[in-house]
Symmetry: C2
Subunit: 910 residues, 2 copies
């Protein structure tokens, strides 16, 4: 029961000395206090101090903003203990004890009062400080800073008033910087500050150090309920009744002479992960001097010569802290007259490379478990390992920054259309394809380009998705670019970039860089492979890849995919040499004509499947039958209309010039017009109001069974051929867009019939597995009925998200999704991270109903979400069997799946 329920303070102790607490008492001592206590507890040289508990703060508010009984006395008692420990005395004009006062809630909370340093200074003790340091300027500078901090945070006097006094002093002395003000000038400033405080607060600046301390503690308590803190808590849903602790700690000084100093260090190299102290220090200096850039700090290694004792002690402390906190540490220290003090330690920020190396090596050293190591690396970080990157040493001429849509860096000549990209690409040139946005018509250009750059689109626009699928660098939504397709140039600010000019893009940062930049190759280090192997050992979810070509299949296998979860067959229809045959199939007016065209496609598809199944020998390959609407394979209606207009104009001209133009040419033109008219008629007949919800997926297979029959025949003939060669093939046939059990029942019968035909023709036994995509809400709701005909489910969460929300992805991202994210109606773009409340609830329903009807039903996901760590965690919790994602995200998924199994949230990792 908390104090808010009982109405009394439950803990008898309002104060803990550092040596009495521990890291586990975060709630009572706040994060900072618990951490100081922990370091003290394990024997590190931490300046002594004590923590006033959060419960004291809670009691303060319960009592109507009054100190609970005994708190003032307890603080004074602790001060006496601190005096004993330090040999200094609070208010002693010779060797004064100075303290810092800091707030410290259980949850880090910007907006609250932070720090008051040097508390304990007054007109007497400042002289003692000047004497003991031998530096009057320093002592008065400490004093004036203390008065300013105190005036600001305790008394609420605007900082600008203090600044004005200091500025006047600088002007009076004719100097530019604060530290150039003379010792005497600094004393004058301190005096002026005191006057300011007296004037503004209506009473003199408190000279009594104990009174200073009591006022500071009260100010920390009050800051718990200042406006900024309240708003922050509301936004981050932090309970308002936690309260804050107050830490009071003896000051130490690194600027007490040549045997003093201060510095920061990492226990290992945060860039490479190498195991060696890494950092810098300054002698006779205070903490802020190291970062102020006035003196140049020295590499930490030199400290071993300058202060060998201290350096050895630092090595010991680093090792101790790393072992204690089980991670690379970022440490601040101060040396006061030869004595080392640790002021702070925290987990060190690091590069992806260092994160992996450190995690694996810490596990190797027995400091952390392999599970912990796997949890230490953010899945997104490791995409860096898989792509060429810009040399971090290079100087870059960055002209714009867009969205980092697909990681990796690329350099090439700018081109503005897919055909040119292909033409140049095929002749060995490196090109960057620049478009306002891309469409499926640009695929050949994307394939040929080194990288893609668009001025429109979000993280899930066409270019972004396709590029990620291909592992190709891509920057999208770079709105600073004004592209003029007709002029074949883009402008950005004053710069004009024309076709053929060289640019570079960094898909990991979104940067667009003029000219060529040095690239470094990806390094699949041993530690990287080790970490993923450990992840594989931990995870329960299988990881497959979405791959449509033998090259993709091989790449996927190399990255550790355990099969193909989605092999789209429509891309096989899109190949330039096949499009005419596909169009003939679509233009067929009878089932017989259509079959004739399909007979020509059959050997082509069969060849595709042979290579893909061979590449994935021994692993399952889930092949999805044709999904897009047929009109996607025909030219655009508007283009056809324009083309026809031109042809008719040419015909008119040819007829007008009948004397000089041959009759055959006229007849040829007439024939061509008739052909295009037929294509136009068909394209118009197939056009749809909402293609996403139109005649596609299994609806095509039901209306034109001969198309699916051909595809199944191609699959089974390919499989039979490989079985004959001794290859272990595991095709799985996946029916798209099923929403009604009857659809699947009908098509499954068709698959089995074709399989049986091929079996009896070839005499070869091929395993037959039929399943379905689950990508419309009705499939989730009726999953029990559908499972009766399905050996597996695979969630197509792209379409399921579209239909569950009633969002067309293309339209939503272009038109209104930004309003939703901006106004926080949605926390994330649901096409990037699975919407667990809505789409996820339907998925859980499908899993439950599907497995109830068919125990052991295999269930996977093959939408874009299959490569997103947060979505993978959801899939793990929902009980899926596998995720499938683009080959380049397979390592990410392996790691994320392992973290999901460990129950870690991304937030907990470094």
């Amino acid at each position: 029961m908390g104090p808010e329920a009982s109405g009394v303070v439950t803990s008898e102790r309002l104060i803990y000395r550092f040596e009495e607490g521990s890291a586990g008492q975060r709630r009572l001592l706040g994060g900072k206090g618990a951490n100081l206590a922990e370091m003290t507890r394990i024997g590190l040289p931490v300046p002594p101090g004590f923590t006033i508990t959060t419960e004291a703060c809670i009691a303060y508010y319960r009592l109507g903003r009054k100190f609970p009984e005994g708190l003032a006395e307890a603080i004074e008692g602790q001060l006496r203990a601190l005096e004993q420990k330090t040999g200094k005395r609070f208010g002693d004009p010779e060797l004064p004890l100075l303290v810092s006062v800091r707030s410290g809630a259980a949850v880090s909370m910007p907006g609250m009062m932070d720090t008051i340093l040097n508390l304990g200074l007054n007109d007497q003790t400042v002289k003692g400080l000047a004497r003991s340091t031998g530096d009057a300027r320093f002592a008065y500078d400490c004093y004036r800073r203390f008065i300013q901090m105190f005036g600001d945070v305790v008394l609420g006097i605007p900082v600008q008033r203090f600044e004005a006094i200091l500025e006047e002093r600088r002007r009076a002395e004719g100097v530019e910087h604060d530290h150039q003000v003379s010792a005497d000038g600094t004393r004058r400033v301190a005096r002026a500050y005191q006057d300011l405080v007296a004037r503004e607060s209506g009473r003199p600046f408190p000279e009594d150090p104990t009174e200073q301390l009591m006022m500071a503690v009260r100010a920390v308590f009050e800051s718990w309920n200042n406006q900024r803190a309240i708003v922050y808590r509301q936004i981050h849903k932090i309970p308002a009744d936690l309260g804050t602790a107050v830490n009071v700690q003896a000051m130490v000084f690194g600027n007490m002479g040549p045997d003093s100093g201060t510095g920061v260090l990492f226990t290992r190299n945060p860039a490479t992960g190498e195991k060696a102290l890494y950092g810098e220090y300054l002698t006779n200096a205070q903490g802020e001097d190291v970062v102020a850039g006035i003196r140049t700090p020295r590499p930490i290694a030199l400290l071993s010569q300058e202060m060998p004792e201290v350096y050895r002690e630092l090595e010991r402390v680093s090792d101790l802290l790393e072992r204690h906190y089980r991670d690379i540490q970022d440490i601040e220290f101060t040396v006061e007259r030869g004595r080392l003090y640790v002021l702070q330690t925290r987990a060190g920020k690091r590069t992806a490379q260092a994160a992996v190396k450190v995690a694996v090596e810490l596990a190797g050293e027995g400091i952390i478990s392999r599970e912990t190591a796997v949890g230490r690396v953010q899945p997104e970080q490791i995409t860096k390992f898989l792509h060429r990157n810009v040399d971090p040493e290079a100087r870059l001429n960055v002209v714009a920054t867009g969205l980092p849509a697909s990681p990796g860096a690329a350099t090439g000549q700018v081109v503005f259309d897919a055909d040119t990209a292909e033409a140049l690409g095929n002749t060995g040139h490196r090109v960057i394809l620049v478009r306002p946005e891309t469409t499926p018509d640009d695929i050949h250009g994307i394939v040929a380009a080194q990288g893609i750059l668009t001025s429109r689109g979000g993280m899930t626009c066409h270019a972004a998705i396709v590029a990620r699928g291909m592992g190709k660098p891509c920057v999208v939504g770079c709105e600073a670019l004004r592209i003029d397709l007709a002029a074949r140039e883009f402008r950005v600010g004053e710069t004009v970039v024309r076709q053929g000019d060289v640019v570079s893009i960094d898909g990991g940062t979104g940067q667009v860089i003029l000219g060529e930049v040095p690239l470094i190759d990806p390094q699949l280090t041993g530690e990287f492979q080790t970490l993923l192997a450990w992840a594989d050992h931990i995870r329960r979810l299988g990881v497959r890849a979405n791959a449509d070509t033998p090259e993709d299949a091989r790449k996927a296998r190399e990255f550790g995919a355990e099969g193909i979860g989605l092999c789209r067959t429509e891309h096989m229809f899109m190949a330039p040499d096949r499009v005419p045959v596909v169009q003939a199939m679509i233009l067929a007016e009878t089932a017989e004509e259509r079959r004739a065209a399909l007979d020509r496609l059959l050997p082509m598809q069969q060849g595709d499947f042979v290579e893909i199944l061979r590449a994935m020998a021994g692993l399952p390959v889930t092949i999805r039958l044709l999904d897009p609407p047929l009109h996607e394979f025909l030219p655009n209606v508007e283009e056809l209309v324009e083309e026809l207009g031109q042809l008719r104009e040419r015909l008119r001209e040819a007829r007008a010039a009948a004397g000089t133009v041959r009759a055959e040419d006229v007849a040829g033109l007439e024939q061509e017009i008739r052909t295009r008219e037929k294509v136009l008629r068909r394209a118009r007949a197939l056009a749809e109001f909402n293609p996403m919800l139109g005649h596609r997926g299994c609806r095509v297979g039901i209306a034109y069974p001969e198309i699916y029959e051909m595809q199944c025949r191609a699959i089974f003939q390919a499989a039979a051929q490989l079985v004959t060669e001794g290859v272990d093939v595991r095709p799985e046939i996946m029916i798209p867009l099923v929403g009604i059990a009857g659809e699947l029942e009908l098509l499954r019968d068709m698959v089995l019939r074709v399989a049986e035909d091929v079996r009896s023709e070839t005499g070869v036994e091929v395993p037959v597995v039929v399943g379905t995509m689950i990508e419309v809400p009705r499939a989730c709701v009726t999953a029990d009925a559908i499972a009766a005909h399905a050996e597996f489910f695979s969630f197509g969460t792209n379409d399921l998200t579209q239909t569950t929300f009633g969002f067309s992805r293309d339209d939503a991202e272009a038109k209104f999704l930004h309003h939703y994210l901006h106004r926080k109606i949605l926390r994330e773009n649901p096409f990037a991270t699975l919407d667990s409340d809505g789409v996820g609830a339907l998925m859980r329903m499908a899993v439950e109903k599907g497995r109830a009807a068919r125990p052991g039903l295999k269930i996977g996901i093959c939408g874009e979400h299959g490569g997103d760590p947060e979505s993978i965690a959801f899939c793990h919790e929902a009980g899926l069997d596998y995720v499938s994602c683009s080959p380049f995200r397979v390592p990410v998924a392996r790691l994320a799946a392992a973290q999901a199994a460990l129950g870690r949230r991304r937030d907990d990792t470094v």
Copy 2:
């Protein structure tokens, strides 16, 4: 436990005499046997007989197709009893007992063996029959028919072989019809049939009547498992283990002289419902003669003179049967030598008018309850009452038949475009608008026309929906029509109909009729009003109307609507005088410009709301804020492109003729081109890939809050004005397309803010109710979160069906839905009848979650399904509070809602 479980026959009795059974024993005795038993039981003169039970049939199969022990003996015992009862003897050459043998399963099942008549005839008994009837030709005709039926159904000899013999005989005698063959010829045919049977079956035709009977019974048992019966059971999901009963009944003959006869009658007039015997009869004739058309039957009333005793007996029987079966009966009877026999009775088919009158009168007579009366009328039937209809007496020149999309009949001049329809309509002409299909652009033509006729489209195409909404006759999908819009004519067969020619359409039958036809006005009879009043008393569901105009609102109220469930505000934007203002609003480049245009729309919208709220004083009016995407209010892109091309051409010409064209005209053209270019740019910017899933509904309200704010202000100002006048207003604000709780939260705050502004400006208190449509699956799944911000839910099942299935309605109905219905993947078009398994499951979830979060949450439906009886039954079961449908379907919904409350399925009604 059934026999299939225990392995033994559970009933000890294999046979029931008619007088031993009753109507309740349908499962044991089959439908026919139970009915014969029931009539016998209540004392009607039914020819005696007995029923071999379905369990005997089940046992037959269990025993490997053998008669169960004792069956043969039991049959013989029953024959003896029958002989006693009739005074005739089986096989007696003087006065032979003849029987009919009929199958009779519990469920009526075409495809099974039906009937063998005259069993018991052989070479001896036929002579006795000839003697006793005095008609040798008749006796031998009975004999040859018996041999043929027996040969066909018992011995499996093809009917064609028998037909060939008869045909040869006709040729030999030089006659055309069977009944013209001489007595001797008929005997020869019978002999030839016997020879045929002996030849085909390898044994002589069985002369022993008992053997004939046993063989016939076995044949009935066998027919339970013939191919046609098995297929029928599979299609209709009838269990295969029910078995069939066999009915054996003494033959009676209506052709035994002038004191014999046969006839059919209805207990009341099936056309008008008038209470008087209605039917016809023939003396000295057999049943088939009445319908054969060779002799003209006489009206039943004449029988009272010809056979007064028999007529009185018939009156008694009719009254008895009607009271017993509690419904109008269709009775077959035979008089044998002055004695009346009832052979069959069943519920009489009747017109809509008769159905209503009979139901109300039967209730008035105390024969049925009011609840039963309400259950007796098919909701669809009563639409006939609400529209003008073709005079049923008229002779019609029907040239084609399409789908009956909206009931009622209309006559007018044919026109082929909406503008002409409007022009003629406004000058007092009656027109029929003929189009391949209609679009929202045709609305003004539909409004002006008497009726709509299209060559394309299904029952839920645009024309059908709009016409039903307006209660206007409509025939769609009339594919026989070849429409030539350019020539302004349509052809159907050889007929050419040109603009201005008069045609009529009957939207209740789908007929297209040349010329004018006499129409009769709808008759809202007293019985009709009475029945609906009873229905209102029974139903639990409220019934509201979808109405966008004051006229619709008044019509809805007249038809009994209890409020408006959906008032669409976009139709108010479509009015010709408002479109320019709406377009100015859309073309606005800043929120200020947009507000200026909205300020001009505000008073117009306010005026609409004043009239609608006034018309529905005292009743709730649910007003949906703007739903369609903004591009729907701009001209079509293709049309704009064409128009711009023409304008530019004109500008070129004007410039070329610079000398003769005034500079102002050139400048005017340039200005117009700039304006159209701006519209085109905006239209292109707003264009979407999938408008159904695009920037519409509340997404528009979130992106452009000023639009929704204007609408709310118009509503509250209208309401305040009426409150001041003392009118009781109950507006309810409905937010469309909500899928995320945050959307509703945001917009609800906006509504409350505007309401408060208006309240403080006017000082008038107006009730504020805010709710949402539930029309995307995510809204159902997260209904608990949404209910926190909603005072009511209204299911938009049109869109919910689209998103749940992933079907675009327009595309599905045009492209693939027919495949689904044809292949029985779907039982019904889910846009016409609610898909209870899928969409319905989501609705149930929404109801449950919504009410769990907010007990008492009001829930309705306002999609097209709200007027469909089967869907209304679902809404009742799912616990909705009301349905809302087009005004003309309100009476249908009232009746259907009552039937739902009675727990009746449509199949149970007459």
